[in-house]
């Protein structure tokens, strides 16, 4: 028994030493950012001027129009990309599962292909395609989401595939069909609600990826948040570092909050509730 507790103690000590060391490694550059943004003029004293400027929306949009433009573009892209991704993937993956299981390897291959095609390579290949996109529908930044959908495919596919694996799509669909539901109803009111968690995590991954995307936007000379930040870095270092820090903290908070939401919705509790209610129904 004492060996067990000694082992526990050693393990805890190891954990705290490792985690503290790496936390210091992760935290120092971020603190460096914070420190840099609060430096007074000439590196002396402390001032919150940078953050005060950033918190004042009207000043930001007046003095840093590029930042405002990039931010709005990123928000727009963060809305459009997950939507297109879901519209494209959910029906296809469900349909393949129901009717064309032979195609599942092909779909998987296509979805995982972007992992072997780096974004920078995709830019090279997409240049002629985007010449057509601009020609046909105009050159709005929002059209970048067409390329972003490709970037998020592997991550979204994995999340949705895990979700589809966990439910019995065929039985659910057949039950709904035998009760007279059309395919639209089956998708919207039977499959989607059951995929809630998977859809949510796929969308969040896409949003995170879109907000952090730089390569494609920069090489197509479009302004999203990251590109605006990069360009601002040349003229006003403090504000750009502050924006970078704010973006990182925001991303962390979203992921941290998600880790609570996701586990509660996906945990075993829901499944056991489902089982219990099924047992109760015949009685």
């Amino acid at each position: 028994m004492s060996g067990r507790s000694r082992f526990r103690r050693r393990q805890r000590a190891f954990r705290w030493v490792t985690l503290s060391l790496l936390l210091a490694f992760f935290a120092l550059p971020l603190l460096g950012m914070l420190e840099f943004t609060t430096q007074g003029r000439g590196g002396e004293g402390r001032t919150l001027d940078t953050w005060r400027t950033l918190a004042d929306v009207s000043t930001v949009s007046l003095e840093y129009p590029a930042l405002r433009e990039g931010f709005l573009a990123s928000v727009g892209l963060g809305v459009v990309t997950p939507l297109v991704m879901l519209v494209l993937l959910v029906p296809t993956m469900t349909w393949v599962r129901l009717r064309l299981p032979g195609l599942s390897r092909t779909v998987e291959f296509i979805c995982l292909l972007p992992l072997t095609v780096p974004a920078i390579v995709l830019v090279v290949g997409l240049t002629p395609i985007y010449a057509w996109v601009y020609y046909l529908v105009g050159s709005s930044t929002l059209w970048l989401s067409l390329a972003y959908v490709i970037l998020v495919l592997p991550y979204a596919y994995r999340a949705l595939d895990a979700g589809l694996r966990a439910i019995d799509v065929r039985t659910l669909a057949e039950a709904a069909r035998s009760l007279g539901a059309g395919w639209a109803t089956v998708m919207w009111r039977v499959i989607l609600p059951n995929l809630r968690t998977a859809v949510l995590s796929a969308s969040f991954l896409s949003v995170a990826l879109v907000l952090g995307e730089f390569t494609i936007a920069s090489l197509f000379s479009k302004k999203n948040l990251q590109v605006a930040m990069f360009e601002l870095g040349k003229s006003d270092a403090k504000v750009s570092v502050a924006v970078g820090l704010a973006a990182l903290v925001f991303g962390f908070l979203v992921l941290f909050a998600m880790s609570f939401v996701g586990s509660r919705a996906a945990g075993p509790s829901r499944f056991s509730r489902f089982r219990r209610s099924r047992k109760e129904t015949p009685a």
Partner: protein
């Protein structure tokens, strides 16, 4: 189906454009000139430096990140420690790019926090110029997103280690060393190699961090491709870009094939 139409237009055709374009000259005649262009000293240097940078940061990141993943896995499931580290690593691994480069530039600027701190213990950072060299600063910054990525990729594998296995080893008279040497290491090894390969492709295809850190120089292959794309001065440069892109795809595809093979072996132990 719309899915196939979409992926054809935005994924398959671009890939073909790169593959075919690598073998076409400025007038769309077939040529091997672009591929021969890959032997230019600057391109070779970019490719080698990219490979070295990716190899070093993936192995370093995998080892440090692996230890971190194990340390995190000993915390209770659902504990704040675990959530905190997974979220932090998620942000640093996937969100970063430009912001991470800024973090290091700010910290190592003349009055920056880390320069001051290191200066106090007697380490002179020399104005932070080393930060912009590919085999010093870039490696440090790359590690800064490789270690977190390792945690994300490797955590499920170490979570798959069951306490019963350790107990069984102890019952049979094995020490902690026996457990690690004979049980845990063989089980984790395929996942570890797989994760390292994933880290390699991640570093190899990264563009934004390097671009933000060294906007002018082109020490790495992705930066050179970006440079070839945005410079319209030299004719035929665009198709050299395609040849470089093809070289990247070949490297990444090789690594990913190896990864897929190893992943199949690793997943044998991952049914939880």
């Amino acid at each position: 189906m719309p899915f196939f139409a979409y992926t054809t237009v935005f994924l398959l055709i671009p890939t073909l454009v790169v593959v075919i374009g690598a073998f076409l000259d400025g007038d769309n005649r077939p040529t091997l000139g672009n591929v021969e262009g890959l032997t230019q000293p600057s391109v070779v240097r970019g490719l080698t430096q990219s490979l070295i940078l990716s190899a070093v940061t993936s192995v370093g990141g995998a080892v440090i990140g692996g230890v971190l993943a194990y340390a995190v896995s000993t915390a209770r499931e659902g504990s704040v420690t675990r959530r905190f580290f997974s979220s932090l690593c998620g942000v640093l691994a996937q969100f970063g790019g430009v912001a991470l480069a800024f973090a290091f530039i700010a910290s190592f600027s003349a009055q920056g926090l880390l320069s001051v701190l290191l200066g106090r213990v007697g380490l002179v950072t020399g104005g932070g110029l080393w930060l912009y060299e590919w085999d010093k600063g870039l490696m440090l910054v790359y590690l800064y997103f490789q270690i977190p990525l390792m945690l994300i990729v490797f955590l499920p594998a170490v979570e798959g280690l069951r306490p019963q296995w350790r107990e069984a080893t102890e019952t049979l008279g094995g020490t902690t060393w026996t457990y690690w040497r004979r049980v845990a290491a063989p089980i984790l090894f395929p996942s570890f190699v797989g994760a390292t390969l994933l880290l390699f492709t991640n570093a190899f295809s990264a563009y934004s961090t390097a671009k933000a850190l060294v906007p002018q120089a082109n020490p790495l292959l992705p930066l050179q491709i970006g440079g070839a794309l945005s410079s319209e001065v030299i004719l035929g440069q665009e198709n050299l870009g395609k040849a470089m892109a093809l070289a990247m795809v070949v490297v990444v595809a090789l690594v990913m094939t190896l990864y897929a093979w190893i992943d199949k072996r690793a997943s044998r132990w991952m049914t939880r």
